[in-house]
Amino acid sequence: MTISFKQIEEKLKTEAKRLLESGQVSVVLAYGKGYDEKHPMPYVARNPSDVANIVFNEYCNYNMARYLVRYPAGTKIAVAVKAADSRAVIQLIQEEKVKREDLVLLGIPVYGMKNPKTQEIIDGKTTGGLYNPVLYDILLGDEVHGQAIQLPYDVLAAYESMDKEVRFAFWKKEFDKCIRCYACRKACPMCYCDPCFIDQNKPKWGDKSPKFHGNLMYHLTRFHHLAGRCIDCGECSRACPVDIPLYLFHKKVARECEEMFGQAAGMSIEDKPALVNFRVDDSDKILE
């Protein structure tokens, strides 16, 4: 089975047009042309005539759920969601940032998405091993079946078995590269706090200049704030101009949360986020 990106694009346009014309939604979040084929852009269609600008190809990695929180409550929004993006929407619903009834989810079942920087296929590294959206109203294409699934945590093995000294050296080298552009935070659908803890001055949680210790504080706390919430879209790592593999750390935390609390982020709108919940019989073993 192969994916026809053109076909998805056509369906996306048809649905977007229909939804805007009928007035069912006032905004459609999808993808639009960038300066070349490899660099499509997040695109907001507000009028039926905007729909002609919508594109979809293998480089449309952006998680459009990122933009949902920017609209006032009650805005009717249609949003194009791939597998991981749909989990982001579910997570936002759990966190009461958006309401299910305000959204029309245009599900895109797809595999073989590529990172425009490296040309590598992103499926195995991020997106949680899923190809079909978890939640959608309209599916634009056939569900993906029979595509080899790489388990979401496979890429972690090499890092988990590392000696702690080696692992510290690895992260130190990575965090030392960080230039504190905050693209990771901007790209992340779950980073919606205003102000972000790192921008606060009283208390000042960490140094703001791009030096190791401030970087460490920023990243460790960000990993913590995304614990049980990160849905493994991988956008943070792809947005990073210096290619820090943030997704590895997020995945590790996600794995631990799944093992400890028995729930993966963004899989059901009935769940409560793991860290604002508890069970009386949570084991003390998790603290060991």
Binding site: L216, L220, V253, L275, R279
Partner: protein, 138 residues
């Protein structure tokens, strides 16, 4: 000179801090490496406190709260348990020695347990040596 570690203790007002008081009034001996900060509940502890303590030179961090089920605010420590478990995993994956961070449930009547835990934890941190990974070098 032998290595005297700096250990940050964060204790909840209702159980562990009162337990520490009891250890004091009953004249139990324990190492003086622990500096205790009192918070109203173990769920008041922002994980960034812990990262920051390591950056500012703590060699170990010990958290104390009420036993699950005994929280003064009913459920605070149940949230804290989940949160601090994640903190522990993050510290571990970043490469810090796992033994430098510990959470213990110590009730107001457990002065003995308090002094035992502090003695044991201090010995453990002594054997791990100074913490240099997170510490901000001057």
């Amino acid at each position: 000179m032998s290595f005297e570690p700096k250990i940050l203790g964060i204790a909840c007002n209702w159980c562990t801090y009162t337990g520490a008081d009891l250890a004091g009034t009953t004249r139990l001996q324990y190492p003086q490496n622990l500096r205790v900060v009192r918070v109203m509940c173990s769920s008041r502890i922002n994980p960034s406190f812990i990262f920051r303590a390591f950056q500012l030179g703590a060699d170990g961090v010990l958290i104390g709260g009420c036993h699950p089920g005994d929280c003064h605010y009913n459920t605070g420590n149940l949230y804290a348990r989940r949160r601090l478990a994640v903190t522990k995993k993050i510290l571990e994956f970043s490469g810090l020695e796992p033994g430098r961070f510990r959470v213990e449930w110590i009730s107001a009547s457990e002065g003995n347990k308090f002094s035992e835990v502090v003695t044991e934890f201090t010995a453990q941190i002594k054997s791990l040596g100074p913490q240099t990974k997170f510490k901000i070098s001057q």
